[in-house]
């Protein structure tokens, strides 16, 4: 009993820190409507700043605290709000989630760059007042922990006064309800949002500083994850209520400590060793179940139209064929290591393609793609290879693939269930929490699970040895251990799934899915059970990610259990996929290529340049290399607010001239094939070939436009990107606009000229 009380005290201490962290989330969400996924990263960055000031430079604690919490952290918040968050107004839920994810990766990347660029480093933040303790109810409690409780109380009081006793607070609470209304009444939502982000970042900083000594040596991503633990508290508070958030935080803190108490601080129940780390994510699910049903969302009147062109079936099949042909031709020119890079890109593209259905068509979110890959891997491995499995094979069989697709679909359905009746954000959070639970309880589980169901005994091997080796398939007598053959197999898979997705999109089912994305409310009033349709989409997409995941695993061959399963890689893939243009199948391909480029190819190129020119090593490796690796992906993601349709969309726009002039396109393609032939025979070098291809892709559209000017006349109407029906919107209407409209409408120029004089120029 004494013990129990002691653990209660510690639980409340921990809960206090969670309360501080979660409240920061609530404050930012309730004024800007953006869920700050980067909260943990801001906390970590602040903790590092504090460490730098206090322990590296020896600044006295009060000054260091002041600078960190009241200067640097709010500054980060202010910068984020002005540079990134403000641009997100009126964008889709997916964009509003992806951008903070990009910020998260960017801030963590920057922190790695600043503090850990040389690799591992021993940064050990210490507790306030060192190890001094005081005895409470028989439990020795650090002063540090008491400070946490004290701060939580102060924060609670300060927020109460701010929100309910000041005019500013009243306006802050009004901002998210109806910002237009607020503006009409003379409120200034922008200032409120700015202010709340400063407060939110400050609270993140506090939590970061308080939590950082827990870890021993500070690790950026681990500390960020520690702050994620506080998210369920914010969800319990429905992202709105501070008191409920505090209650949720206490439940969180107590659950963790009571688990310690019940398990004798991890001495008992070895199989559940990692349960402690999974508790917050499990509580997140519980909190989701308790949330009341959301009102069905109507159309988002978005500032930027995120509209995707759907290819016809003929086009889809043609492009599938072109993809296979191009990859085949390219690999003949590539060296072995380049083929591996391309194959990695294709494997990632196969993972990303499930998001075309889920996110591109249905507008829903899955932040645990790699978790599904891992589940598929375990299922197939258990079936084909694993000791105690059903068969022991040297290769991946079709039944194993089908089995893992089904397992993924079913698991996907189960985890989506609690979140389906809620907004997309919650499904995103549920998947992310799911990723953490599976990572902790399954991937890090080295003991085999022995089960006995009504006398049917079997063993499921998770990551018994810390890594799994996946055999590749062996079909039609082709050796897929050959990297080139396997690349082609993946390419064919990609093309087939892609064509299948487009067929799906063009079917009645696809139209319903898109309609659901556009307006769930309207769909429901037509009799559509939106929840069920969402469930089916999620299951289908999980199944596809299972297939993609298997191919990815086969490509990697051996996968250690810490390879990308901790959640961050899923975040990155999701972000890059959305940036690539997830409304298009080609967007998934681009995502795979980007990710492979950013994580492997570019750093290699910078590294090679660095060793070729040792004098410029610092520039190539320390600046460009680290930049690409740590901050590049994030910057790409942050730009998304400006171009929510993604890069694939822009590329397609760029290639429009080819579509209008099939003959010119054919000539260009024939020219490229000719060049490839020359390169293949070794007449021209591969680099020359690559350069010509890239250059022609950029230049030829202009040439075509110049030669076939008559076919692009109606494009001229969209001068400076203004479309015909939007001319003059948001600026003064000019006489030239009138003339342009007249000519477009076929009004004779004489009449038009006569009219022009009446238009104030």
């Amino acid at each position: 009993m004494q013990d129990f009380l002691a653990y209660t005290v510690l639980g409340l201490c921990l809960g206090s820190v969670y309360a501080i962290a979660a409240t920061g989330l609530v404050v930012t969400y309730s004024t800007s409507g953006v869920f700050n996924f980067a909260h943990g990263a801001v906390a970590t960055f602040s903790a590092l700043i504090f460490w730098q000031l206090r322990f590296d430079w020896g600044v006295p604690a009060p000054i260091a605290i002041f600078l960190t919490i009241f200067v640097f952290a709010p500054l980060i918040g202010v910068i984020l709000e002005t540079v990134v968050i403000r641009g997100l107004r009126g964008t889709s839920e997916v964009t509003r989630l992806v951008t903070p994810i990009a910020v998260l990766l960017g801030v963590n990347g920057a922190a790695t760059w600043i503090w850990f660029r040389g690799g591992s480093r021993n940064i050990v933040p210490k507790k306030f007042f060192g190890g001094s303790k005081v005895d409470i109810l028989g439990q020795a409690v650090f002063y540090h922990q008491l400070i946490g409780v004290g701060i939580a109380v102060v924060v609670a009081i300060a927020l109460y006064v701010l929100l309910f006793r000041t005019r500013m607070g009243v306006t802050m609470r009004a901002t998210v309800d109806d910002r237009t209304l607020l503006m009409l009444n003379g409120g200034r939502p922008d200032r409120m949002s700015l202010f709340s982000w400063a407060i939110g970042a400050s609270l993140a900083g506090l939590a970061g500083v308080l939590l950082s000594p827990q870890q021993g040596a500070l690790q950026i991503f681990a500390l960020t994850l520690l702050i994620f633990d506080a998210y369920p508290a914010a969800i319990a508070g429905r992202l709105r209520s501070v008191p409920l958030t505090y209650a949720g935080a206490m439940v969180l803190g107590l659950s963790k400590l009571y688990f310690d108490w019940a398990s004798d601080a991890g001495q008992k129940w070895l199989a559940l060793r990692n349960m402690r780390n999974a508790i917050p994510a499990l509580l997140l699910f519980a909190a989701l179940l308790l949330l009341p049903q959301d009102r069905l969302r109507g159309t988002i009147v978005s500032r930027t139209r995120e509209r995707f062109h759907v290819p016809t079936m003929k086009q889809a099949v043609a492009w599938g064929g072109v993809l296979i042909a191009v990859v085949f031709m390219l690999q003949t020119l590539m060296s072995g290591s380049a083929v591996i890079s391309l194959a990695n890109a294709m494997a990632l593209a196969l993972l990303a393609i499930s998001l075309v259905l889920l996110t591109g068509y249905a507008g829903e979110i899955n932040l645990a793609i790699f978790t599904f890959a891992g589940i598929a891997l375990i299922a197939a491995w258990q079936f084909d290879v694993g000791p105690g499995g059903l068969a022991t094979k040297e290769s991946l069989s079709v039944p194993a693939i089908l089995l893992s697709i089904c397992v993924c679909a079913i698991v996907g359905g189960l985890i989506a269930l609690p979140a389906l009746r809620l907004r997309g954000l919650y499904l995103g959070l549920a998947t992310f929490a799911f990723g953490i639970v599976v990572y902790q309880l399954v991937f890090l589980q080295t003991a085999p699970l022995k089960a006995d169901i009504f006398g049917w005994k079997f063993t499921i091997n998770f990551y018994t040895t810390g890594s799994l080796t996946m055999p590749r398939p062996d079909w039609f007598g082709i050796d897929f251990n050959d990297q080139r053959n396997f690349l082609m197999l993946m390419t064919v898979f990609f093309a087939v799934i892609g064509i299948g997705l487009i067929a799906l999109r063009r079917s009645a089912y696809g139209r319903m899915v898109v309609a659901m994305k556009d307006s769930p409310a309207a769909c429901a009033t037509l009799g559509l059970n939106v929840t069920r349709l969402k469930l089916s989409v999620f299951m289908l997409s999980s199944g596809i990610s299972g297939l993609g995941g298997l191919m990815w695993a086969c490509q990697q061959r051996t996968l250690p259990n810490n390879n990308g399963f901790d959640g961050f890689q899923s975040l990155t893939l999701f972000m890059i996929a959305v940036v690539g243009g997830i409304g298009y199948v080609s967007g998934a391909l681009l995502a795979g290529i980007f990710l492979a480029l950013l994580s492997v190819v570019m750093p290699n190129i910078w590294g090679k340049l660095g060793s070729d020119y040792p004098g410029l090593h610092w520039l190539f490796v320390s600046v460009f290399g680290n930049f690409t690796k740590f901050v590049g992906p994030a910057l790409i993601g942050i730009g998304l607010g400006k171009n929510p349709s993604g890069i694939a969309h822009q590329i397609m726009e760029g290639f429009r001239p080819y579509r209008r002039t099939p003959v010119a396109a054919a000539v260009w393609a024939a020219g490229l094939i000719g060049l490839w032939f020359l390169a293949w025979r070794g007449v021209i070098g591969n680099w020359t070939f690559a350069l010509i291809v890239v250059a022609s892709a950029v230049i030829v559209p202009y040439v075509i436009k110049a030669i076939f000017a008559d076919r692009f006349e109606d494009d001229e109407l969209a001068i400076n990107g203004e479309h015909l029906d939007q001319i003059g919107l948001g600026r003064e209407f000019r006489a030239s606009d009138r003339a342009m409209l007249d000519s477009a409408l076929g009004i004779t120029s004489a009449a038009a000229e006569a009219e022009v004089h009446h238009v104030p120029a």
Binding site: R511, M512, A515, S519, A521, A524, T525, L526, L528, N529
Partner: protein, 244 residues
């Protein structure tokens, strides 16, 4: 017995009451009008009827059956369809697809009498006079026409009662004229209509029964002739004019 009936429906947003004990009904084979000044609570009532909002008190009856606790999609399957004042079109789909997908959704829940969604869609496009817009993006057609697309979409579910929220706004006089004829035609063919509309002339012309909402309360109900001479109604509308 009315086809659709609201009994004592109340709706509060925070502290503010948008509807207070509202009784409204709509008969089968008739066009019923629901009018009232801006902010009277007409759209809110539609949301309560279709289930997009849960009323804080009162019940909604369809054919004397209490549907208050049913989710929106079940009410739609029961034969209630609607259009939206703030357009809720599927912006990724063309005009034709917007209408067709509604038929496809219907085919999912009404397996016994499926319809050929394509054919039905052509028929509805023709009926509403928007066949020439079929392949356009819904984002680029005028509001008046977009309202007809929404109406076509609702018709695809073959509803027993159609709730129209200001369908004539955005249409010119000529179009409104035709629109009135269309409403009467639909009604003759067995679709009951509950019409919210600011164009009082149109309402007077097509409705057989009119109910007037003001500040969330029903202040009058009767035939067009009765409503036109009702003092409370005149006050409500005049009051609005004076404030404006």
């Amino acid at each position: 017995m009315s086809l659709l009936e609201c009994r004592g429906v109340g709706m509060k947003f925070g502290g503010a009451a948008a509807l207070t004990s509202v009784d409204v009904r709509a008969e089968a084979n008739a066009i019923t009008g629901l009018i009232g000044p801006n902010g009277a609570g007409k759209t809110t009532l539609f949301n309560c009827i279709t289930g997009l909002l849960e009323p804080t008190s009162g019940v909604v009856l369809l054919d004397d059956e209490d549907i208050t606790d049913r989710p929106p999609f079940k009410r739609a399957r029961g034969g209630v369809a609607r259009t939206f004042q703030r357009l809720e079109l599927f912006t990724s789909l063309s005009v034709r697809e917007n209408i067709q997908v509604a038929g496809e959704i219907r085919n999912r829940w009404s397996r016994k009498d499926r319809l050929d969604a394509k054919e039905e869609c052509d028929r509805v496009l023709e009926l509403l006079g928007i066949a020439h817009l079929a392949d356009r993006d819904v984002g680029e057609i005028p509001t008046g026409m977009a309202r007809r697309v929404e109406m076509g979409r609702a018709l695809m579910t073959r509803p027993r009662i159609l709730l129209l929220d200001e369908p004539a706004s955005g249409q010119d006089e000529q179009e409104t004229e035709e629109f009135g004829v269309l409403l009467l035609h639909l009604c003759e063919n067995g679709t009951a209509i509950l019409l919210v509309e600011h164009d009082v002339a149109l309402v007077m012309r097509v409705c057989s029964f009119i109910q007037v909402l003001d500040f969330g309360r029903i202040i009058a109900a009767g035939t067009p002739a009765e409503i036109q001479t009702n003092q409370a109604v005149l006050d409500a509308y005049l009051g609005e004019d004076q404030n404006a």
